[in-house]
Point group: D2
Chain length 481, copies 4
């Protein structure tokens, strides 16, 4: 018990979990080449030896012991800021711990209905914290026909549901999609994908199970493949994470691991709470990525000798505007934090949603100036193996040279970085997930509209128009309800 | 001496200044109907009686007396924040005091070259502060053919220049354009419009003169006209400000009012310093305007019963994103303030320029959703006089009714607000000046590019690409130089 | 009978029509200064003496006489092209004849339900053609609360309706908004603003009456005012047209002027037919305006000596792209015309809607580069009267000079053109009406979606995906229905 | 001699060409798995047996024989239209024949300087036509430091140049980048990448050589890899084409294959002529791709049951606008064709450039709605092999079901189509090449600005502004020159 080493983490994965990838059933995930980089990625988060990492990744728990800061519940701005620094230091697998925070966020509200649920949430939290576990957020259902409610689908299992209630637990059936890192965590926290109605009591279910639980099967998909040169793939060759298609084939869940079962009015609460923390994670990542894009664009311009051209400076400045707006949104979200009744603090919802929306809605367009500046070599540059071919090396050194101080090898790496993040399989994954993560653009618009001070803005308009009376109070009241 | 009352301000304008408007020479500006609203606008800024205004607009000077906060040199974040609150409380005429701040900003640099200039700046500052004066920033030259330098124009006076140097002062000739409120201030602070070269020593001149100085002639243009119904023009009928075309016809300036005369290397310094404070003013205004647009859009949607329509909520949310990004930029600029060697603090240049650019480059597009939501009545609504015509009033009450709680008169006022700010003469002035104020989009791009931490961003890219060596140091060094 | 002269047209307006403007009841519209320019605008369309105009504006009718081409029903591409040329040659008042074309478009469909209606349409057409009449399209109702149907409003008259049916005609009550030129036409063709349902039989009414009909009152609003210098307002000082708020106060309409009365299923047909012709008119105008914007931008750049600057060329090129896409859309619409069962040809609906949407959705953004290139003088230039003031003329000549070959007066006119069309009251009217004319952006999106060859596009996707079977036929069928 | 069969084409590639890929030297390209799909792609273009293909791909030559229409020189609109149809029917390898057209385009101009060059062009044309050869356009040089001219680089070979002139030919050295399909053609037509100056006579060189010429080495890069499931990669698994990094290591070119050698004033002529035909090809492809995106978006919306949601219809309509504008541009370019002195007709340059620019500048943004509608499965869907795994097939059939009529296999294929074209390695290649092909956005802007009727547009502005005199004629004249 306590914090794990990278080796302990890897060992912990050998627990009989049922995994599939590329058509194969995976015998031992820790020895499978397809998972090698992903596991290294995850294991690096368990490095607390490096002092720089230790400072960021650990904290002193109430009992005086060192714990993973991932489990620290922030109580003030500094702790919130420390959490952001932590999330910037670890991989996406650790970031998915936000589902645990969503549970903590709603614990009191859930507990008011059923105290046992609150206790179960607290127990899970302590279990994860005390054993330094990794968690996947398991949300999106198969969904079937999106125009129909869960209970009206051709197959009742197209949304995950309770198929049996027993004295000691429940049996669930269904499938969950896009579960990042599902194959490599210790807990699958399963939450409803949306608010549920009276006819959907069986779908209002939340719980957590380890991946090795009987009946859980995870089919994996990755933008990466087995052995990738880190020269050719400097980002995705170093860290990647498979997406899991997680099947729950009549999985038994003991009551002490259940957080909701039938209280349909509370189903939406989880989704809402999760959204905020997911978007914080997205915004942190997007702000760093934007800065990286600025740096890559400026660097390739310098390498190629076009950094003085006004149209190039213009495009880099476009990227700077994008990066700075994300950075300011994130800073504002931390600085103007909000406080839950429990004393836990969390980032300002409006700032997070404005920033996340700006990041997501403009990302495709921001890839354009990066491509525009970089030129065709992004996709036509031959691979490392050709460069290393002694018959070819001299030609590469000769013809990919641009100017003194720029090594051909570095220039190639930089082109590979740009391609990897924006014009190859991983780049495609970014394009799609940037839009879809945290609930899609629509979700961010709804939250922004709801949290903005519309009443104040209307008051300004009334004043400017010289209207003495307040406007249509019933309309405003109705909207707020 | 000391702070003026509104009446004292108005009286102070009767000083023989030579003004023109609509083809007429203005005999007494304080009695001319074309200037009535503008003067009322300016005079309201002298209201220190209202306690709310007093709190915002005044401060305790070092000598213990109350002064106009416009002249308080901020020394910390609170004073900077107080300055922003002040600027939100007063008219554009007071806001132009930023030219005085630009002078203070460069005082030490200027003083290092010629101590007398620094003394003159200090003297002007005290004179303005002690007499509660208003100031116009007089920058943009006539410019002639923009492809030619000042000294290469068909007429050497197309940029304002020194035509004679005398023992007691200098004589200047030229014209300055777009001088907001020039007709209604006490000091015209004249600065070079751009950096100057060796051949342009006569153009490197900065000074201040009162408008009533012999040889100064101001031709005025306004988006407003004489008598406007404040029902039909709720904004521009209440406050407007003429633009001055200011002619300097061999104007004599005593040496104690000169801040630069021939030191061409310093000409650019003024323009640069001014830019920051101008853009702060623009950003403050733009953030408030954006919030007003949100309020007006939401209100008209409620009045018309379309506030629940998803495409309407979408468009209002677009305006919210715009408004919040401006608000966050301004807050960041204040919070992350910078400190001059003199101890004066000023807003963060990057945040100001990012915010100002976002405000200006998107403004035309943001008017679109406002128009889209509001509909054709913005421009087709009959005027107040028709509404008040007893023969017509019943028809207006009948046919402009939408729902209980919305008075027809209020709905008309709201439409007038929207038209006034975005689809009439004043709205057009906003469209153009939003782009052009503070130096145009290009200026903001240049400053943003220069102040962004490019070195840090490049470091990230090098790390991500796996490049050990630093990139092309000479290129980076060259760019920074 | 036959084609009118300008003088006959003006005389025809003295028929007792009840008009209001600026709070006044208009005694004789032909002598009222507020209408002077609008009437001159309208009268110019009656110039058939100028050979260039005669060629474009007239055609030989079946009886061998010369008629106004406005009434020619196009039967082939040449006649359609000739119609476009005509519409480019005349004012907006003539362009509103499109409501007559909408009636002709639906005549057969209407006639199938009630042969008398078709006859009435034919009679109106001949009456207008034989007397060279001008027509207003009278569509938009007061509408009240947009979230409620016509029959559910607080006041049943918020949509125009039949209040009595008599042996010889019907009595109607209501108000119609945004009726361009209503005060200056001979026929008000009144059509339902939208499709109507079973509960709205009284609202399913279409008819035509002359403006002088008892009970018709027109309150006018204009972006122009009485006497405008055509130097300062080169466009709106030359042609403008008031918008009418048209009140129908229990107006009697004889049956032979009724085209629909109670057949609610057909109400939407009119709106749909009208939309096409309205958008054609909008697209023609927008294409010409875009070209004008290119010309104005290029010219002001040349006048100011910035036409070689790459960022200026970039912005002008943006305007060129906009202008060319509109031009190509219009040409495509004509070339790929469609043919009604009656043999009348009409522009391709998809091309028209794509072009109109591109014009309207980008217009606000396209004003930006124009303002960006032109600079602040757009709104700060003093007026003609100042220029003509002999005391000032020399200063204008001196300081507004840019380079040889550019007369100051011409440069001022060009600035006035730019302000007038984009940054003054008329420019605001353009901003709003560009969005709202022809049914708003949503209407163009709906038509484009419906008329695009989705089936073909899906077939391509199926082929590319390697899917043998056709996709979800029932879904496709449902959508088409 | 004459048209080849697919088998003859494949055989023709076994000629000793020196190819490299993935670090290996390719012994026999026709048996190498990395080239299998690319060669199949190329060979399919030689199918003239299928009657549908024969109609499109062949024409009757002057001598009465059947020839590949690729070599038909269009003399009228029908032949131009037939060429477009041909280009839509064949792969990118055939499309690169445009370099031959660029040569024909400039033949007379070149011939005026050196008749031999024109003869050489004619000979090459006949050789390619008579042997049904495929051609690569070999343009982009290594370029080195973009801020320096060819002759000022650290290595004089960074632009391809003549290193020796001999009685029977020339010797060239250099490298050319981004040469699509270089490994699989019969002729490499090498042209200067840009205009050249007096100091760059050695760089003003154009010629053609077969890939098997001694000293030519081609290093290949592909977005595709060896064995791809056409289920998982429905587009790139079926057709792909490697990019060649083509090295000219002192290659001897006989005089009869040289089209330019030292006449530096003509170097730019080739680049200009090539640009038009390249952009035509890009526009054809982009228009088809846009239509495919509409189809894929509509289909996935139907499969998932969201095709009635208004925000989905909105996004599809965005794609429709994009697709239609491209289609109309292409049609206009054909219809308003221009005619060279030789009688050869070619597409309208303005329409081509406007369309190409619209295609390229908006492509990144258009991928966004496609991703937005499709959702996360685009990148998280497991691969075919998992689906075919009998242990998993039932789960896929159960959980990827949406509604009757939609086969799970088809839904998977559709998701794979979307990922393949927009969110995977091939999609990344599209993002970059869409921007870079045909010379980048700047090139299209320049041509559009130059070919637009600016004089006419200015005339309109003069007329509207009421300016009698023509504007600054010298400026206009200068620009035209």
């Amino acid at each position: 018990m306590g914090m794990k080493t990278p080796e302990q983490y890897i060992a912990s994965l050998r627990d009989g979990r049922e995994l599939f990838m590329d058509g194969r059933k995976i015998a031992d995930v820790t020895r499978d080449p397809s998972f090698r980089v992903a596991i290294e990625t995850a294991a690096r988060d368990y490095d607390y030896v490096n002092p720089a990492h230790r400072a960021i990744r650990t904290y002193t728990m109430e009992n005086g012991e060192l714990g993973n800061r991932l489990f620290q519940i922030p109580r003030n701005a500094e702790e919130l800021q420390a959490r952001v620094a932590l999330l910037r230091s670890v991989s996406i697998l650790s970031a998915t711990a936000s589902s645990l925070f969503a549970l903590l966020h709603v614990k009191d509200e859930i507990g008011a209905v059923n105290a046992q649920y609150a206790k179960n949430i607290e127990r899970l939290y302590q279990h994860c914290r005390d054993n330094d576990l990794r968690i996947a957020e398991v949300i999106t259902d198969a969904k079937g026909d999106r125009s129909r409610h869960p209970a009206k689908q051709d197959d009742p299992d197209l949304y995950l549901r309770v198929v049996a209630r027993k004295p000691d637990g429940i049996v669930v059936r269904g499938a969950k999609l896009h579960i990042t890192g599902a194959a490599l965590v210790h807990e699958l926290i399963v939450l409803p994908t949306k608010a549920m109605g009276l006819e959907e009591v069986d779908y209002a279910v939340a719980f957590s199970v380890p991946p090795a639980t009987k009946g859980v099967k995870i089919v994996n998909r990755s933008y990466a493949h087995g052995e990738m040169s880190t020269f050719d793939y400097p980002v995705s060759g170093h860290h990647n994470m498979p997406e899991g298609f997680v099947i729950f084939d009549d999985v038994f869940v003991p009551w002490e691991r259940v957080f909701l079962c039938g209280e349909y009015q509370l189903a939406g609460t989880f989704a809402h709470a999760l959204g905020l923390w997911e978007r914080v994670g997205s915004l942190i990542f997007a702000a760093d990525r934007a800065r990286l894009m600025v740096g890559a664009a400026q660097l390739i311009a310098e390498y190629n000798g076009i950094d003085k051209a006004s149209h190039v400076v213009d495009k880099i400045t476009e990227l700077i505007f994008y990066a700075e707006i994300l950075r300011m949104s994130l800073d504002t979200a931390i600085r103007e934090y909000e406080t839950a009744p429990s004393g836990m603090v969390y980032p300002n919802a409006l700032a997070v949603n404005v920033g996340k929306y700006h990041a997501a809605s403009n990302y495709h367009s921001m890839v354009r100036p990066l491509h525009d500046i970089s030129g065709g070599l992004v996709v036509t540059l031959p691979v490392e193996a050709d460069y290393r071919n002694p018959e070819l090396t001299p030609y590469f050194e000769k013809y990919l040279h641009t100017k003194p101080g720029v090594a051909v090898e570095d220039r190639m790496k930089l082109y590979n970085l740009i391609r990897d993040i924006s014009a190859d399989a991983y780049g495609g994954w970014e394009l799609v997930t940037t839009l879809q993560a945290g609930g899609g653009l629509t979700a961010q618009k709804i939250v922004s509209y709801r949290t903005y001070d519309l009443a104040g803005a209307k008051q300004e308009a009334l004043r400017a128009a010289g209207i003495a009376r307040p406007a249509a109070p019933q309309a405003a009241a109705a909207r707020r309800a």
